[in-house]
């Protein structure tokens, strides 16, 4: 793998992805509608729990911050995965693989577009939470920024694995783009602390960097000082997970080329 980036090629990928995003109404569903729907569902559940008076804590706030942060992972993953899947759906993969475009340049372009979509998706959730539930996301403070960064990298890690699975098993594996994300969300305790999960699953949850990010967000929502230890644990997790997922993708790409799987798309 060559580590150098040709910025002209990265820019070309960004422009292609941006035009594709702008001209595909169905892609806007992910960015605008889906965040709104999630906010309504989870915000209403939280509000209902609050109204029962049993929790004694800000159930709606927990749910809304949970959905906001889940969408960090969602947008980072889905945007990057779908950018790659777009090339397989339109059978453009062959054209790219016989062009000078390096894998690292394609990934860099996809990440930039993914980050832009993430901002749009988060903005939508924040706006919906404020308008519909009077929940101001900024009450958690600037401490949310490193939490969001950890979750963004978790989203990209999932996307790298999804790409590897699609290269290995074909387009049938694309369902894992959403499936894998939901498994990670469930195990990370996006809406509940890890100790609320069945005991069998708790060790799995503690292995995931996203678990520490969600926990840190809840600490911030409680008005406590920045939980640096949790953020550091999350960051250490992504420092392991991203290179690992990249290695899996590179190994699969080698397999893809040596087994001639490109003929699936020609």
């Amino acid at each position: 793998m060559a580590a150098t980036l040709d910025l002209l090629r990265v820019r070309a990928v960004i422009r292609r992805q941006a035009l594709s995003q702008l001209r595909a109404p169905q892609r806007w569903f992910d960015v605008l509608v889906w965040p709104m729907v999630d906010t309504v569902i989870w915000g209403s559940i939280g509000l209902f729990v609050d109204q029962q008076g049993g929790a004694g804590r800000a159930g709606a706030a927990y749910m809304l911050s949970g959905i906001l942060l889940m969408h960090v992972m969602y947008q980072a993953n889905v945007s990057m995965s779908c950018g790659f899947l777009d090339e397989t759906w339109s059978r453009n993969l062959v054209n790219l693989m016989v062009s000078p475009l390096r894998e690292v340049e394609l990934l860099a372009g996809l990440m930039v577009v993914s980050a832009a979509r993430l901002v749009a998706g988060l903005g939508m959730v924040a706006l919906a939470a404020w308008v519909l539930f009077a929940f101001n996301v900024t009450t958690a403070g600037w401490g949310l920024i490193p939490v969001i960064a950890v979750l963004m990298f978790v989203g990209w890690t999932i996307a790298l694995l999804v790409m590897a699975l699609v290269l290995r098993f074909g387009n049938g594996a694309e369902i894992l783009c959403w499936g894998l994300l939901l498994v990670i969300v469930a195990l990370s305790g996006a809406f509940y602390p890890v100790h609320a999960m069945p005991g069998l699953l708790q060790p799995l949850g503690r292995l995931l960097p996203s678990t520490y990010a969600f926990e840190a967000a809840r600490v911030l929502l409680d008005g406590k000082p920045m939980p640096w230890r949790l953020v550091a644990e999350g960051a250490a997790g992504v420092a392991v997970a991203v290179p690992l997922a990249t290695a899996v993708l590179w190994r699969t790409l080698h397999l893809f080329r040596s087994r001639g799987y490109i003929t699936r798309y020609s």
Binding site: L8, A12, R16, L19, R23, V98, R259, S266
Partner: protein, 272 residues
């Protein structure tokens, strides 16, 4: 499969023994834009390419021919680094694959008649996209030249997904020639095209090769096209080179009147 080396370094098989693939126009090593040696590719149930060696000289026009299943597309994809061979080596413009794939492909253009164009882009955007990938920062003038050369300037603002298959093929070839490649690789460029569009492809290709000095490696099932465009043909059968030389020489090597008859003869032996 037993193999022996022919005089031109090309493996021979039982099929090849009947019409020995004597390499008549071996390009000088220094002038080669492509040099592949002993390529082998085995899939789970079949050997697609059983030991192909192929060299293309600068500015040379070569056709890679054979029936369905002969190993043409697998060979092309190995030459372009999209498939890693089980054995053998590929050098493109002096760069060895797969390590220097990106550098090598900067000077190569590829188009296939069966490949669609990227979704949701206009024709000029598709062309600019691939021009950028090949290092052209300001591709506007090259795009206009390409569109005029293949007489589709009026389609520049059309959505690529709305083009007919013929128009799409023409855009694909323009995409492959924008950066004036030293080696142009085309897989079935005239497949399913009407005679007028096929003629336009031929004319455009000849002009491209003449003006840009590009070498051409093309696969086709249209022997008339091949005889018109290419100065050299390489026939594959059962994943092996069975003939290599000027069209007339290859036809006479098999005791046939033209390439069409050679093709039919070899195709009758192929199992698809």
């Amino acid at each position: 499969m037993s193999q022996a080396r022919g005089s031109g370094g090309v493996p021979r098989s039982a099929t090849a023994d009947r019409a020995a693939p004597v390499r008549q126009t071996e390009p000088m090593a220094a002038a080669r834009v492509l040099d592949a040696r002993g390529l082998v590719k085995r899939y789970k149930r079949a050997t697609a390419v059983a030991g192909v060696s192929l060299a293309v000289g600068a500015g040379e026009r070569v056709a890679l021919l054979g029936a369905n299943g002969a190993g043409k597309t697998t060979t092309l994809l190995m030459l372009l680094g999209a498939i890693i061979p089980d054995a053998g080596s590929v050098t493109v413009l002096g760069h060895t694959l797969p390590g220097a794939r990106s550098r090598a492909l900067e000077g190569v253009g590829f188009a296939a008649g069966y490949l669609p164009l990227p979704d949701r882009l206009r024709v000029r955007e598709v062309l600019a996209y691939f021009a950028n990938l090949h290092g052209i920062a300001e591709p506007g003038p090259a795009i206009e030249v390409g569109l005029k050369r293949f007489r589709i300037a009026h389609l520049g603002d059309a959505m690529a997904s709305e083009l007919s298959s013929g128009q799409r093929t023409l855009v694909g070839i323009i995409k492959a020639t924008l950066h004036r490649p030293r080696l142009l690789v085309l897989d079935e460029p005239t497949a399913s095209l009407d005679p007028e569009v096929a003629h336009r492809v031929r004319m455009g290709l000849e002009r491209t090769c003449e003006e840009d000095g590009s070498a051409l490696l093309v696969t086709s099932h249209n022997m008339t096209d091949v005889e018109r465009i290419c100065e050299r043909v390489v026939f594959l059968s059962h994943g092996l080179v069975v003939a290599d030389g000027p069209p007339a020489a290859v036809a006479s090597q098999f005791g046939r009147a033209n390439l069409e008859e050679v093709f039919l003869h070899l195709a009758s032996e192929e199992t698809i």
